[in-house]
Symmetry: C2
DNA sequence: CGCCGTCTTGAGTCGCTTCAAGGGTAGTGG
DNA sequence: CCACTACCCTTGAAGCGACTCAAGACGGCG
């Protein structure tokens, strides 16, 4: 944990940058010390539940490595992933006794954990830190609203394209202008999880990705790894841009 | 504005209760005075835009009466309503230069407005009030995630049922145990807006509601006003509950 | 009264889901 | 070392729910 907070320079070395929240705390000796006292690092393996849905769980924290899925389940078993959390995002529902969502490990992962009570007490003592957490919550809200647009309006092909672009860009390393664009997409989750995130089925996901490959938008290295050959086309297919130059998209689906 | 903050008792008289945020401010003379100094009440008529999408707008505040729709639009014109705001909810994106969503008047309405800059300065001076705002944002996030479940998993019939229940319960008057259950649903928005909210089309909404009426779940007084005849059935149709007693639902759709 | 917007209803089409089966790969034990 | 199992991904075929297009009904307003 000490290492976590003492290495704000490691973002230089290509690792994930610190969350604003941690950067803030790391910069102040008092905050750092308080935080270290209540934090503990825990490993979870893929599939494990960190917080159950509707469950009273006193655990909040941040992702160090790996991916968490935030999901809701209906009484009859249908489920929807309402968020994916990568490092260095925060997880857990602060200021509520029960969590309205389940949080599970989508991959093996390491988490920096706090007891919710201790964390909230810490925030209450340091309003400027609570402010950072609020900004993180606002970002999450923005992301949720963007995803609602995707689920409500977009065809499956657009959803898959949007998802791939999201994965692609969240993997961009380095901050600001030094940010290096990736061409390789590493999908850290299964087709099934992708389907649950995108509100569709694993079969449809599979068909769509194969279709993209046939059209030359991307190259499939293996089921979890693609090379993006034409990012502009992918952005167009995602519905994010009204197409600038391409003429009518010929679908090779029937060929 | 003074009237707004001086009438925390009016929730007794059947009016909307104050938002936690206002209740807090009304209870402290200093806060109340500061808030009154930066607030102004404005009326908007149905269809007017309060904040444009992606636009730099310095306006935030709370709904006094009427309904706001929070929506996002794709480059090709498709749109999705990502939230409806009733009194006494807060509106506007604090701590961001641009708003990622548009905020429009879904009905004629009255709003208590603040300049974003002044409001943020006010929050910075009073962390306990900022805390209230954070709780409101967290509630909004919960609602957004619930709606993602609806958009990603539910069939249209379930979405419409969920929507009607939401409208029904948000109209329940009185707080806590004194809350009085409504049987009448007043849909404050058009079929088209409902469709945009539910990620479907106006035609499908219409068909579904007529179907509910044929099945005896509700009675249509006029296109904006229904009486709920069987709330348990409606809850079942919304997918919120695995049905306890009803056997297989006969659809009168084909009759 | 006639126009206009909203809601309703009908018919046809299509995208996606569902169901079913086959292939690839990793982990396990004989 | 090689079967064996299990899981994931892929592919095919059929069915259906919801969208699209089109037209008619209702109500409000100038």
């Amino acid at each position: 944990m000490e290492a976590l907070l003492s290495t704000s320079e490691r973002s230089e070395s290509g690792r994930q940058p610190l969350h604003r929240f941690f950067a803030h705390c790391a910069a102040d000796a008092t905050l750092r010390e308080e935080l270290i006292r209540i934090a503990h690092v825990r490993g979870f393996s893929s599939g494990e539940t960190i917080v159950g849905e509707g469950e009273e769980s006193g655990l909040v924290g941040a992702v160090i490595s790996g991916v968490l899925r935030v999901q809701k389940t209906m009484p009859d078993g249908r489920q929807q992933i309402v968020g994916l959390l990568f490092a260095p995002n925060l997880f857990g529902r602060v200021f509520s006794r029960v969590s309205p969502v389940a949080i599970e490990a989508a991959t093996d992962c390491r988490l920096c954990c706090f007891s919710r009570a201790a964390f909230e007490a810490f925030l209450a003592r340091h309003p400027s830190v609570e402010h950072d957490v609020m900004l993180a919550v606002l970002d999450e809200l923005d992301a949720a609203q963007e995803w609602m647009l995707l689920l409500g309006c977009k065809a499956v092909q657009e959803r898959v394209a949007s998802f791939l672009l999201m994965i692609l860009h969240q993997a961009d390393v380095g901050g600001g202008a030094a940010r290096r664009r990736q061409r390789m997409v590493n999908v850290p989750i299964t087709r099934h999880d992708m389907a649950v995130y995108l509100g569709t089925t694993a079969e449809t996901i599979s068909r769509t990705i194969q279709d993209f490959a046939r059209r030359g938008v991307l190259r499939i290295i293996n089921p979890q790894r693609f090379e993006v050959l034409d990012e502009a086309r992918l952005a167009f297919l995602s519905g994010r841009a009204t197409d600038p130059g391409d003429v009518d998209e010929p679908s090779l689906r029937s060929a």
